[in-house]
């Protein structure tokens, strides 16, 4: 009961903070940005509050965490209560501390990975749409081929070949993800390159790089951002699934995906421990997508 209660209380706090921050933004934001916040739905302000909270926790992890990241503080599986407010894990490390450091590693790695995937994927996708012809055909066939290989198995192959440092993990997941981004970016860009302003820029004699960067990309942002929201969260899942294969982030670094994996067996006995990292991921997923939905809504201009 206490668990359910505390989860509800935490969600409630985020809602209140979201409301307050929306009110704050409305009154404090510079005049020409006010409309942005004026029509911000409650879900979006809730999402923003959660994201800001996560980022703050991630940055301040060493300050706010009661213990060191891998520090063994006591016996294993201590119940909730001072000084281990969320208990301890199998090795007797403080769960709260692990969650806080997990925010730093998980969110950081997921962000870097997704950003990389988007840089590569959207550049290639837009380029293919812009240039068309053989380049487009070959790139698309190649990406099609890569997409047809199950992501998990492909990652397994690559990670086994290149080893499992954080860097290779980021690169491999980004490479696999970028194929999905490529497809989206290409189809979005195909719509954009038909526009007169692209024709005008081509007639002006602009090079491909500028066309991609200044003319197409800004207009392709809305669907890309929406995809970013989902892809970002899929990275946690990918890391989690890879740790299922023993290929995740190396210990004692805390990341939520692996934490779910490490504690997952407890759930079948009704122990809620694995719900903490899973919930942390879920909350962030929902929050990010609430904000993304709002941005998308704004971009589409569809009135309620």
């Amino acid at each position: 009961m206490t668990v359910v209660l505390s989860i509800l209380v935490a969600l409630g706090i985020f809602f209140v903070v979201g409301l307050a921050s929306r009110a704050g933004l409305r009154s404090l934001a510079p005049a020409h940005h006010k409309p942005t916040y004026r029509d911000m739905p409650l879900t979006a302000s809730f999402g923003l509050a959660v994201i800001v909270f996560y980022i703050a926790v991630a940055i301040l992890a060493p300050v706010v965490a009661p213990y060191g990241e891998g520090e063994v503080t006591g016996a294993q599986f201590l119940p909730w209560g001072a000084p281990n407010y969320l208990g301890t894990d199998k090795l007797g490390r403080d769960m709260l501390t692990r969650l806080i450091y997990g925010a730093r590693n998980t969110v950081g790695i997921a962000f870097v990975t997704t950003a990389l995937a988007f840089m590569v994927g959207s550049f290639l996708g837009i380029w293919a749409a812009l240039v068309g012809g053989w380049l487009d055909q070959w790139l698309s066939r190649f990406v099609d081929a890569l997409m047809a290989i199950p992501a998990l198995i492909f990652s397994l192959l690559l990670l086994t070949i290149f080893g499992t440092s954080v860097l290779t993990l980021v690169l491999v997941i980004a490479a696999v993800d970028s194929t999905r981004v490529y497809r989206l970016a290409r189809s979005v860009a195909q719509g954009i390159v038909m526009m007169d302003y692209i024709e005008a820029a081509r007639l002006r004699g602009e090079g491909a790089w500028r066309l991609i960067r200044r003319e197409i990309l800004p207009n392709a942002m809305a669907p890309l951002v929406a995809e970013f929201g989902l892809r970002f969260c899929f990275v946690f899942l990918a890391i989690s699934a890879l740790s299922f294969l023993g290929l995740g982030i190396k210990p004692p670094t805390a990341d939520w995906g692996s934490m779910v994996r490490e504690n997952a067996t407890l759930i079948t006995f009704g122990d809620v421990t694995p719900l903490l990292p899973a919930g942390a991921i879920a909350l962030l997923t929902v929050a990010v997508n609430f904000v993304v939905d709002w941005q998308l809504h704004r971009a589409s201009g569809l009135k309620e």
């Binding site: 290989i149 397994l156 997952a264 899973a278 569809l302």
Partner: protein, 317 residues
């Protein structure tokens, strides 16, 4: 119709090209994997001589391009060859597993597709209502849980109470009813995993259309909101919906390794991972090609269906 046949044959040709690229990629990747079949078969008991003998016997001493060419010519003649590790014909090894994988995929799809389309349509119909936001948040929560975790939770709720078995044991004599019953939990897990994506896409595709003039026209003709969505929006949103369904079906066929492991389901995904760890390249290749073919065919099917359901493409001027 001729258009469609031309598209199909063109796409099949491209599909073959895709399969070829995949086989090269997979072969290259497995080639780069540390260790080889001989090492895996002999284990550490291998002496340099026995290793060399076995490599000779397995044809591993040929250069990589030659081995690839041998494999490729075999496949071209419809011969996927023998699994080196298990000494069984690959078709036999893969056959029943493929059946199992397809069964689970279509079972899950049969649950997930109607469910998520219904949710998506309702969410679009009642957009920004409590129902919309709640189903959206729940769907997002479901996809943000790792698959094995969803499976464990379902086992906790539905299996430990004795409602459904926690593992699937299918033999040749298992009846269809039993199969459906036993495979319910894995199918449900997969349903939860793919629903969010399909639901969100359906909702987005429909909402995207609701601003179009013909939707306003339908409303101005006095049509009820339900009829506006079902009769006027949905048929035009079919193309993106079909595409996302196809993509998820492909995922259900190719990406369910984790669920197979948790429910002890003898599917292709597990076999492929097994084959990777055994460096049984012919099996890895065969399964990769099956997966890729499924992907290519489903995409093709999606395109054909999109074309058939789009009068602009079906009925040219």
């Amino acid at each position: 119709m001729t258009e469609i046949w031309r598209m199909i044959s063109q796409r099949l040709l491209l599909g073959v090209l895709t399969l070829f690229i995949i086989s090269v990629v997979i072969f290259g990747a497995t080639e780069l994997l540390p260790g080889d079949l001989a090492r895996e078969l002999l284990g550490q008991s291998a002496t340099p001589e026995t290793l060399a003998a076995l490599r000779e016997q397995l044809g591993l001493n040929e250069s990589a391009p030659v081995r690839y060419w041998n494999w490729l010519t075999g496949v071209m003649q419809g011969d996927f060859g023998m699994s080196m590790a298990t000494k069984m014909p690959i078709s036999e090894l893969v056959g029943t597993r493929l059946g199992n994988t397809l069964f689970l995929a279509f079972y899950a799809a049969a649950l997930a597709v109607p469910f998520s389309l219904l949710l998506g349509v309702l969410a679009a119909l009642w957009r920004n209502s409590i129902f919309d936001r709640a189903s959206n948040a729940l769907a997002l929560t479901a996809i943000s849980f790792p698959e094995f975790f969803v499976a464990y939770i379902l086992i906790l709720w539905l299996s430990q109470s004795g409602l459904f078995p926690s593992m699937v044991r299918i033999t040749d004599t298992t009846s269809m009813g039993e199969r459906l019953y036993m495979a319910f939990l894995p199918a449900l897990t997969l349903t939860l995993v793919v629903t969010a994506h399909m639901m969100r896409m359906t909702r987005a595709a429909i909402i995207n259309l609701l601003a179009s003039p013909y939707i306003e026209m339908a409303r101005l003709k006095g049509m009820s909101p339900m009829r506006v969505v079902l009769r006027h929006a949905v048929p035009n949103a079919l193309s993106p919906i079909i595409n996302v369904v196809a993509l998820n079906l492909a995922y259900l066929i190719t990406g369910v390794v984790v669920v197979e492991v948790v429910f002890v389901y003898p599917g292709l995904g597990q076999l492929m991972i097994d084959a990777v760890s055994n460096r049984d390249i012919a099996v890895v290749q065969a399964i990769a090609l099956i997966f890729a073919a499924a992907y290519v065919l489903l995409n093709l099917l999606a395109d054909v269906l999109s074309t058939i359901t789009n009068p602009r493409l079906m009925h040219r001027k």
